[in-house]
Amino acid sequence: MSARPEPLPNTGFPHRHLLGTEGLSAGEITFLLDLADSYVDVGRDAEMKRTRLRGRTVINLFFESSTRTRTSFELAGKRLGADVISMSVAWSAIKKGETLIDTAMTLNAMHPDVLVVRHPESGAVKLLSEKVNCAVINAGDGSHEHPTQALLDALTIRRRRGGLAGLTVAICGDILHSRVARSNIYLLNTLGARVRVIAPPTLLPAEVERLGVESFFDMRRGLEGCDIVMMLRLQTERMQGSFVPSIREYFRFFGLDRDKLTAAKPDALIMHPGPMNRGVEIDSEVADDIDRSVIREQVEMGVAVRMACLETLTRDWHAAGAGAGA
C-alpha cells in the first residue's frame, strides 16, 4: 500500500503527527489554539454533535491507565462525528509477547485515520508513528511529552489572560518524571512566556536550565511575582524515602497552600493537570478556590483542544482525497 501524501504546508499545521510541542512554531501552536477556541462553544451547545469527522476512525491506544485523557479524546472524536474505539493494553503483558511494533502493524492494517497513543516509555509513541500510515497523536509517552496537555493549558491561560507573552509561569513539583512539564516548557517558551520550575533538586532533571527555565528550590522565592502557578501530580510511590523523604515533608515545603500562594501575584491562576493528590502537592482550600483555580476549566479546554488536533490531523488527508479505509 502506498503511504498517504504528506500534509500540505499551507494549512497552518504542516505536520503529519502531533508527537510533542518541542519544535512547533508559534504560528502552528496559535493555529491549533484558535481552532480549539472555536470548539469551546460546541461543547457548550445543547446540540453539540458535528459531522466534520464523519466516516473517520480514531483509535485510542492506551498502554497506561488513564481516565480523563482517554475520555477527553473519546468525547472530542465523537463530538466531531468520528467513530472512536478505545483500547487499553497492559504494557507489562505486551512486553513479553507481541512487540509494540507488531501491535502498531496490526492496528495499521485496520486503516484508522488517527491513532491516539499513551505509553509508559519515553519515545514509544514516536517509534510507533514510524510504522503506521495514519496520523498519530501522542497522549503522553513516559517522561517525554504530553502535547495536548500543554495546548489545553495554553488555551486556558489565553482565554483568561488574553495571551501568553510576557507572563511568568511557575511549574512546581516532579519535573524530573513529568511529560506535562516538558511539553509546557517548550510551548510556553515558544509563545513568549517566562518559565520557572520549582522542586527539590532530586526532582529536577539534569541541566534543566538548558530547556529555557529558571529553577528554584524555594517555593516562596520561585512563586514571587508569578502570573500562573502550575502544580504537577507527584506519584506517591516516588515519595517514600527515595526522591523525597515523606509526604508530609513534601507538603510542608512544596505543597501549594494559601500561605505560599501569597508570594505570587494576587490574581495568579492555579492550574493542575489532574488527578490531584489533595494534601500532597495542593491544599484543598486552594484547589477549590473559584476565583483562582482554573482546574475544571482545564478539563473543559482539553476536549476543545483535542477536537482541534483530531480535525487538523485528518483535514489534510481529506483535502488530498486520499483517506484510506473510508
Binding site: 516509555e121 514516536k126 539534569a206 541541566e207
Partner: protein
C-alpha cells in the same frame, strides 16, 4: 570464507612481497617482504627477496599495502552458549576474520557464565572446531557474575582463561574486589573491571540536556570515575593487576593516568564508539546507539580520543555486543545495551590517524601487541618465530559501513552508512588465509 588453496597447506612457505611492514612492538614501519612457513613467520625485512622469490614458494603481492600483526580484540561477547540466535562462536569468528581480527578474547557473560573449567573448555573446543580465528576467554571473577563468591581463578587460568572479569557487571562489593585483586596476585592474573558504580548507573543514556529533553533516565559521568577511584585505592592496597574496560570519561582517564604515573599496575581500554560518537548519536531514540557505558558528551569523547593518541588508553577493543532486532526495536528504555564491532574495529580506529592525531604504528599498538600483553598472549607481533597471524589492509580505501553485509548474526550498529577509510584485504591465521576481500 573458504581458505585460499595456495596458502592452505601446512609447512608450505608463502612470501608476502611488496608490503609496508608494520610491527608496533619493535617500531618497524617500512617497505619489505615477509615469509611464513607453516604456522610461523620465518623471516621478514626490507631486503628480503630483493633478488627475487625462490622457485616453489607461493607469492602474495601486497600491492604496497600495510601488512601488520593480526588484530587482538580483548573484549567480545560471543553469546554462545545460551543466546545462539544473536551470535555463535562460528559467526563471531567469521566476523572477526572479516575485520582483520586474528585473536579475540570472549567475555564470560554467556548462559551459563564461564565460571568453571568446563566453560573454558567449551569455548576452546568450539573454537577448535570452527578453526578460523584464535578464541580465548575470560573467566568470571565471581560465580555467575553475581559479585559474591570468587571463582577458581588458578584452575581456570591453568585451563586457559586469560584474565578475569564479571563482564558488564562491575564487581560492586569493595571487599570482594579487594580479595579478587589480592588473590589474583598468586598467579599474576589481571582483574578487568566494567567500572561503573551500579547504584548510580541505573539510567539508559548519558545524563545531561539531551536525556532531559528525551525524558530518559541518565547515567552521570561520575558513575565511572567513582568506581575507578575506588578500584585504584584497592590496587594500591593489594598490589594487584587491574584493567579498566571501556573507559568513556575524561575524569576516569585522568585518574588512570595519575595511577600509572605512581607506578600502579593499571591498564585500560576503550571501544571505537567512545571516540567516534557522542551522546547525540542517540538523537531521536536510536536504540542502536544505546550502549553501556553510554555514549558521552562531546568533551568526554574528545578526551577519549586524546587519551588513545597519547597512550594513556592502552588498547582499543571492539566491545562486540550482538543483539537481534527484537532486542533493539523497542522503546529506548527497554531495548538492550550494545553495539556490534568486530567488522568495524579497524576502520573506526583509524579515524584518529586520518585526523592526524596519531601515527599509524601507534594506533596499531592499541590493536595488537598491547592488548596481547595485557592478556598475556604470545600474539600480536611481526617477528621471526612468532605465529603467522597477519592482517593486510589498505588504510586509505574509503567505504561506507553497511551492517547488512556483516558476517555477524546481529546487525546492531549505529554506524549505518558511516563513511570510513581503511579496508581489510586479507586475514591470515597461523599462515592460513581465512579471509580475503572481494577485489
Amino acid at each position: 570464507m573458504k581458505p585460499i588453496p595456495a596458502t592452505a597447506k601446512a609447512a608450505e612457505a608463502v612470501a608476502y612481497v611488496n608490503a609496508r611492514l608494520l610491527d608496533p612492538a619493535s617500531g618497524l614501519d617500512g617497505r619489505g617482504a615477509l615469509v611464513t612457513r607453516g604456522a610461523q613467520i620465518a623471516e621478514l625485512g626490507p631486503q628480503l627477496f630483493a633478488e627475487g622469490v625462490p622457485d616453489g614458494m607461493a607469492v602474495i603481492d601486497c600491492g604496497g599495502h600495510c601488512l601488520a600483526p593480526g588484530l587482538v580484540d580483548m573484549r567480545v561477547q560471543l553469546r554462545e552458549p545460551g543466546e545462539e540466535h544473536k551470535e555463535t562462536i562460528e559467526t563471531a569468528s567469521r566476523a572477526a576474520a572479516a575485520g582483520g581480527v586474528t585473536t579475540l578474547v570472549a567475555q564470560p557473560n554467556t548462559d551459563p557464565v564461564v565460571d568453571d573449567v568446563a566453560g573454558v573448555e567449551f569455548v576452546a573446543r568450539r573454537a577448535r572446531e570452527v578453526k578460523l580465528v584464535k578464541v580465548f576467554t575470560y573467566g568470571s571473577v565471581t560465580r555467575r557474575c553475581e559479585g559474591a563468591e570468587l571463582t577458581e581463578l588458578g584452575l581456570l587460568s591453568e585451563y586457559g582463561a586469560v584474565a578475569f572479569t564479571d563482564g558488564l557487571r562491575a564487581v560492586a562489593d569493595a571487599n570482594v574486589m579487594r580479595r579478587a585483586l589480592s588473590y589474583a596476585r598468586t598467579f599474576d592474573l589481571v582483574i578487568a573491571q566494567h567500572p561503573e558504580e551500579p547504584a548510580l548507573a541505573t539510567g539508559v543514556m548519558n545524563e545531561g540536556e539531551l536525556a532531559t529533553r528525551l525524558g530518559l533516565p541518565g547515567i552521570p559521568a561520575a558513575a565511572e570515575v567513582i568506581m575507578v577511584e575506588r578500584d585504584l585505592r584497592l590496587v594500591e592496597l593489594t598490589g594487584g593487576r587491574y584493567h579498566a574496560a571501556n573507559i568513556s570519561t575524561r575524569a576516569a582517564i585522568s585518574r588512570i593516568a595519575e595511577a600509572k604515573a605512581r607506578g600502579l599496575r593499571v591498564t585500560c581500554d576503550t571501544a571505537p564508539h567512545y571516540f567516534s560518537l557522542n551522546e547525540n548519536a542517540v538523537g531521536d531514540y536510536r536504540t542502536f546507539a544505546k550502549v553501556w557505558p553510554p555514549l558521552r558528551s562531546e568533551g568526554d569523547r574528545a578526551a577519549v580520543a586524546e587519551a588513545v593518541a597519547d597512550g594513556t588508553i592502552d588498547a582499543i577493543a571492539s566491545d562486540h555486543s550482538p543483539h537481534d532486532q527484537d532486542s533493539k526495536r523497542l522503546p529506548f528504555q527497554v531495548a538492550d545495551f550494545g553495539i556490534v564491532g568486530l567488522e568495524t574495529l579497524l576502520p573506526l580506529s583509524l579515524e584518529p590517524v586520518h585526523r592526524g592525531q596519531m601515527a599509524l604504528i601507534d594506533l596499531l599498538a592499541c590493536l595488537t601487541c598491547r592488548p596481547a600483553e595485557i592478556c598475556g598472549l604470545a600474539v600480536g607481533r611481526l617477528a621471526e618465530g612468532c605465529a603467522a597471524d597477519l592482517v593486510l589492509f589498505d588504510p586509505e580505501r574509503p567505504w561506507r559501513i553497511d551492517p547488512d553485509s556483516f558476517r555477524s548474526k546481529s546487525k546492531n550498529s549505529p554506524f549505518d552508512d558511516h563513511p570510513v577509510q581503511g579496508r581489510v584485504l586479507r586475514t591470515v591465521v597461523d599462515g592460513r588465509t581465512i579471509y580475503q576481500a572481494d577485489a
